[in-house]
């Protein structure tokens, strides 16, 4: 009895077995594989003093790499918002031959190893590749430029956006659209006034996921990027380069900066989502 009363302070008693065992294992496992390693990431940069942290982040190369990773991820997320939205719309609303196959391959970027995607995209969009070759005469270069980085990030982010919106579009009451149509709304008005507001929260959350994935993306980007410092070098690659030079503190600093930046951006994004959700309710 007394033992029970003492425990109630931090947990509600339950007759089900296995609380201590499962929680103990969960906490130990998380500590071992997540908490301790990430603590090292948070502490390591400060070993050489505050000034070095600032210097490492403020160096032109780091600045360029961080800017490229974040801006390219943002552009890719924006493109995915539009084209992923279109794909989700077409897949939920229209019937056409090959629809099931199209729906299934949306998940391919989830399943395909990033290095495989990387060399495939490079072969495709390089100047001697099947698509890159078509664009070269027009003066458009994709592989080995920041545009290539964006293309790779579009690839990895696509399923996040499509899979977030699809269920919402499926559940959306088509009678509401029909009602809007009877009231004289044009297709464009129906899309912007009726459908978009309903889909927006899911779209934003999908775009947020795609953005986060893009920022940290490494495997599919490094082959197509060209990896020129200051121009087409992404932040994760800079980390790898610094590790190869045994600059642990420098690598950890860039890693920490990436985590903090993504965290802040996603926090703002969640705030925006909350705002929209509240307005919708």
């Amino acid at each position: 009895m007394t033992r029970q009363a003492g425990r109630r302070a931090w947990r509600t008693p339950s007759p089900l077995p296995g609380f201590s065992l499962s929680l103990g294992f969960t906490v130990a496992y998380l500590s071992l594989f997540v908490l301790i390693p990430l603590t090292a990431l948070a502490i390591r940069p400060w070993e050489n003093g505050f000034d070095n942290v600032i210097a490492a982040v403020a160096s032109p190369r780091a600045q360029a790499a961080l800017r490229l990773s974040f801006i390219a991820a943002a552009v890719a997320a924006a493109v995915n918002a539009i084209m992923g939205g279109l794909l989700a719309w077409v897949l939920t609303r229209y019937d056409f031959p090959g629809k099931r196959l199209a729906d299934a391959v949306i998940d391919l970027p989830f399943a395909l190893p990033t290095a495989v995607a990387g060399i495939a995209l490079t072969a495709l969009y390089a100047q001697n590749g099947p698509i890159g070759g078509l664009l070269a005469p027009l003066g458009v270069k994709i592989a080995y430029t920041p545009v290539g980085v964006v293309v790779a990030m579009i690839f990895v982010g696509l399923p996040f956006v499509v899979r977030s919106i699809q269920p919402v579009l499926q559940d959306l009451d088509q009678e509401v659209e029909a009602a809007a149509e009877t009231l004289g709304a044009s297709p464009f008005q129906r899309a912007t006034r009726v459908i978009l507001p309903a889909v927006l929260p899911a779209l934003l959350s999908g775009v947020g996921l795609a953005f986060a994935r893009g920022v940290g993306e490494y495997g599919s980007v490094i082959f197509i990027a060209g990896n020129m410092p200051l121009r087409s070098e992404i932040a994760p690659l800079l980390i790898v380069t610094q590790l190869e030079q045994f600059d642990y503190a420098g690598a950890a600093t860039i890693g920490m900066a990436m985590l903090i930046l993504s965290f802040l951006i996603l926090l703002g994004f969640n705030g925006l989502q909350g705002l929209i959700a509240r307005r919708g309710a």
Binding site: W10, R11, S14, L16, P17, G18, F19, L21, S22, L23, F25, T26, Y29, L30, V34, L35, P37, L38, A40, L41, M83, L86, L87, L91, Y94, F96, A102, V105, I106, D107, L108, P109, F110, A111, L112, P113, A115, V116, A120, A123, L124, P130, V151, I154, F155, Q174, A178, A212, G216, E217, Y218, G219, F223, L237, I239, Y248, A251, A252, G255, F263
Partner: protein, 287 residues
């Protein structure tokens, strides 16, 4: 109203057929450019010098060693993460305690961390000037650039997958069935084996499949900790990079094709499991 709606929706496709065709065409073109074309280019490049060359490049001992390491890594990381997923889902969905929200956030954390960072953290701990380096040196142990580091990095990257499938399902199912089993005299092991496990089996398999696919294909995290020692610390995705950088394009794309086939297999299994998984959820909803 209903009749009106029916008439409208029946009329719509004809009215908008041009726009509809345009939208479908645009969507499919995009899907082809972004997803299907890369997939097919893998096959084309692998077979550029004929099937024989592709098969020959796959039968190199280095490829076999890389495949073995990939399978070994997956065979360690996935079961561990499955056990973790079950334990985490059990304590998070069946009990109320302070710090639960924080625990759930921690479980999801690896998803929002760059794979390179998931590798980097192990270097910070076990690398040449890592936290535990003096202790490891004294003991004569090496973790960095060994399969152990590859397993550690893979576990971190794939840690959330099983837990994330189980937690929402078990939350939705509630604990009434387990409580009923308890009052009927079932031991904890019987409750787990006969009630909980069968109820989540499809979700568990689904999570294992996702974790498996990610573990076999992981590149960034593994690349940082592996040291790329051929025959020793090289996984299949890393081997793709090595061959590619050595301009052995047929070898690189043949290995990539092997991984792509595994990915396609994963997708087939995934859509099968999705149906089962959805049935579970729907059966629940019907009650």
């Amino acid at each position: 109203m209903t009749a009106e709606t029916l008439r409208l929706s029946a009329a719509r496709p004809r009215n908008l057929s041009l726009g509809r065709g345009l939208l479908i065409g645009l969507a499919l073109l995009w899907l082809t450019l972004i997803v299907l074309a890369p997939l097919s280019v893998i096959l084309v490049e692998a077979l550029r010098k004929g099937l024989g060359a592709a098969v020959a490049s796959l039968s190199q001992p280095d490829v076999w060693a890389a495949a073995r390491l990939t399978l070994l890594t997956t065979a360690i990381a996935t079961p561990l993460n499955a056990v973790f997923g079950l334990a985490a889902a059990w304590c998070v969905t069946r009990f109320d305690f302070i710090g639960k929200t924080l625990l759930m956030a921690l479980i999801d954390l690896p998803l929002s961390v760059s794979p390179v960072i998931s590798g980097l953290v192990w270097v910070l701990l076990f690398g040449a000037s890592g936290w535990f380096a003096p202790w490891l040196n004294a003991a004569g142990l090496q973790i960095m650039f060994t399969p152990v580091a590859i397993v550690l990095a893979t576990i971190l990257v794939t840690l959330p997958y099983v837990a994330r499938e189980l937690i929402p399902l078990m939350q939705q199912q509630g604990s009434d069935e387990e409580l009923a089993a308890l009052t009927l005299g079932a031991r904890p092991s019987a409750i787990f084996l006969f009630i909980t496990l069968p109820n989540v089996r499809w979700a568990l398999l689904y999570g294992v499949l996702l974790a498996n696919a990610r573990a076999m294909g992981e590149f960034g995290a593994v690349s940082v900790v592996s040291g790329h020692i051929r025959g020793l610390t090289n996984t299949l995705p890393l081997h793709v990079e090595i061959l590619y950088n050595e301009y052995d394009f047929v070898g690189a794309f043949a290995t990539a094709a092997l991984l792509a086939v595994l990915a396609l297999l994963t997708l087939v299994l995934k859509s099968f499991l999705e149906h089962r998984h959805a049935d579970d959820l729907a059966a629940r909803g019907r009650r």
